[in-house]
């Protein structure tokens, strides 16, 4: 009797697949032991192992005796991400339903912080091009600086980047590492006096009418200026309208909890399809991880510097420069970082509500940034 089938799989393992098992294990470790974005990194880590088992049944295979067989993870990827970008977009409905734009509507000046903190995306694109990446790959890498996993995934997939897996891992890992990255970046460009600057918080009532009109207005304006952003902004704002309209509380709860959880549950393991060893284990992956870090640092630095310049023109209504760094989209981690740094500089300094306002502005700005990047390529002849 031939027993070779017992070790056929073992003998087929390549060293690249071994590397992926280690990466998968590392992601699972970071998710469980360190609590880094566990809802995504854990499924991605496990999926990285699944798709890299020799002749894995979770991806399409062809064997002489059976012919072609279809794998579930490949099917999920092709239907849920590649064909329609449905998964990241549906997740946006849940995210929109979770966000309270009230603090931002009470202080609209902070919209500008969200806009400024997207500069890291475009500066990173330039660096990636200088390192030799193709323009579409460079744009996909730069969008890691949106600090928004679904946006990174959608843009890189739409542009058919060769590095979707590495970009997704970088985007989600660095979002989890915001409490480490941002204090370092902020301290590079601020003094203790800057960080101790107090901002009075005057809670202003935001009317229901304004809360309802806001998502509609944002969608229309973003759609008119950058039509390619409509899917991203529209689904985010649709979720927010469900939240704010006041007559769909059951749907709002479903979007915030059940829908977001279901999509998240499947998204991580689906992304792992792009973590096949032959696509992932290559020198560019390390460069992408480095560039993702650069994007987060540049976002934070430009956000701070922008507020410092803004303060020159509005001396009677100054903003703590750190609030500019909260303009990245990593919500709510970035707001917490700003509050913590403010209190370290002065225990009576409370910046949380201002940081939250800038942070939710960053959420809108990051999806608009994704849209304008796609728009740029749409307009290329």
């Amino acid at each position: 009797m031939d027993f070779s089938f017992l070790w056929q799989g073992l003998l087929s393992i390549t060293w690249q697949q071994m590397v992926m098992y280690i990466i998968g294990g590392l992601l699972i470790y970071l998710a469980i032991e360190k609590g880094f974005e566990p809802a995504l990194l854990m499924p991605m880590g496990f999926g990285a192992i699944l798709v890299n088992l020799p002749l894995s049944g979770v991806i399409d295979q062809f064997s002489a005796g059976v012919g072609e067989t279809h794998g579930i993870i490949q099917w999920l990827f092709e239907v849920g991400i590649e064909a329609s970008e449905a998964m990241p977009l549906l997740l946006f409905i849940g995210i929109g339903a979770m966000i309270d734009f009230g603090p931002l509507l009470a202080n609209p000046k902070l919209f500008l912080c969200g806009a400024a903190a997207q500069a890291g995306i475009f500066l990173t694109i330039i660096i990636a091009v200088m390192l030799g990446f193709d323009l579409k790959d460079a744009a996909s890498i730069g969008i890691i600086g949106a600090a928004d996993g679904p946006t990174s995934l959608l843009v890189s997939q739409t542009l058919k980047s060769n590095f979707v897996g590495a970009i997704a891992v970088a985007a989600y890992s660095y979002m989890a590492l915001v409490p480490i990255i941002q204090p370092f970046a902020i301290k590079l460009v601020t003094t203790k006096k800057d960080r101790a600057m107090k901002m009075p918080y005057k809670p202003q009532g935001v009317t229901r009418k304004m809360r309802i009109l806001f998502p509609v207005v944002v969608t229309v304006i973003a759609g008119l200026v950058a039509p390619a952003s409509v899917a991203l902004v529209g689904f985010l704002m649709f979720g927010n309208l469900i939240r704010e309209c006041g007559v769909l509380s059951t749907l709002s709860n479903t979007a915030q909890n059940d829908l977001a959880n279901l999509i998240t549950l499947l998204l991580g393991i689906t992304i792992s399809f792009s973590m096949k060893a032959d696509q992932f284990v290559r020198p560019e992956t390390f460069m992408i991880m480095g560039l993702g870090l650069v994007a987060f640092i540049l976002d934070s630095v430009v956000g701070v510097l922008f507020v410092k310049v803004l303060n020159i023109f509005t001396p009677n209504n100054k903003i703590n420069p750190m609030v500019g760094a909260a303009g990245i989209s990593a919500f709510p981690m970035s707001s917490r970082v700003i509050e913590k740094l403010g209190q370290e500089a002065d225990s009576q300094n409370h910046l949380l509500m201002h940081a939250i306002a800038a942070n939710v502005s960053g959420q809108i700005a990051s999806v608009v940034a994704g849209g304008v990047v796609l728009q740029y390529f749409a307009n290329l002849v």
Binding site: L105, P108, K109, F111, L112, G114, A115, Q118, A119, I121, F122, L123, I125, I126, A128, V129, M130, D134, L135, A138, A139, Q204, T207, K209, M210, L213, F214, V217, V218, I221, A222, V225, A226, S361, I364, A365, V368, A369, V372, V373, Q375, Y376, L380
Partner: protein, 40 residues
């Protein structure tokens, strides 16, 4: 300068302009809505 670098710089200009225009208009409309609400 390579063509890709020129395009990346162009993307920086167009991208940041687009983001500031979108968020700037939204901010102005929010201020306007606040003022209109305040008058009532």
């Amino acid at each position: 300068m390579s063509e890709n670098l020129i395009r990346a710089l162009e993307m920086l200009g167009q991208g940041m302009l687009g983001i500031f225009v979108v968020l700037g208009i939204i901010a102005l409309l929010v201020v306007l809505m606040q003022k209109l609400d305040g008058k009532k």
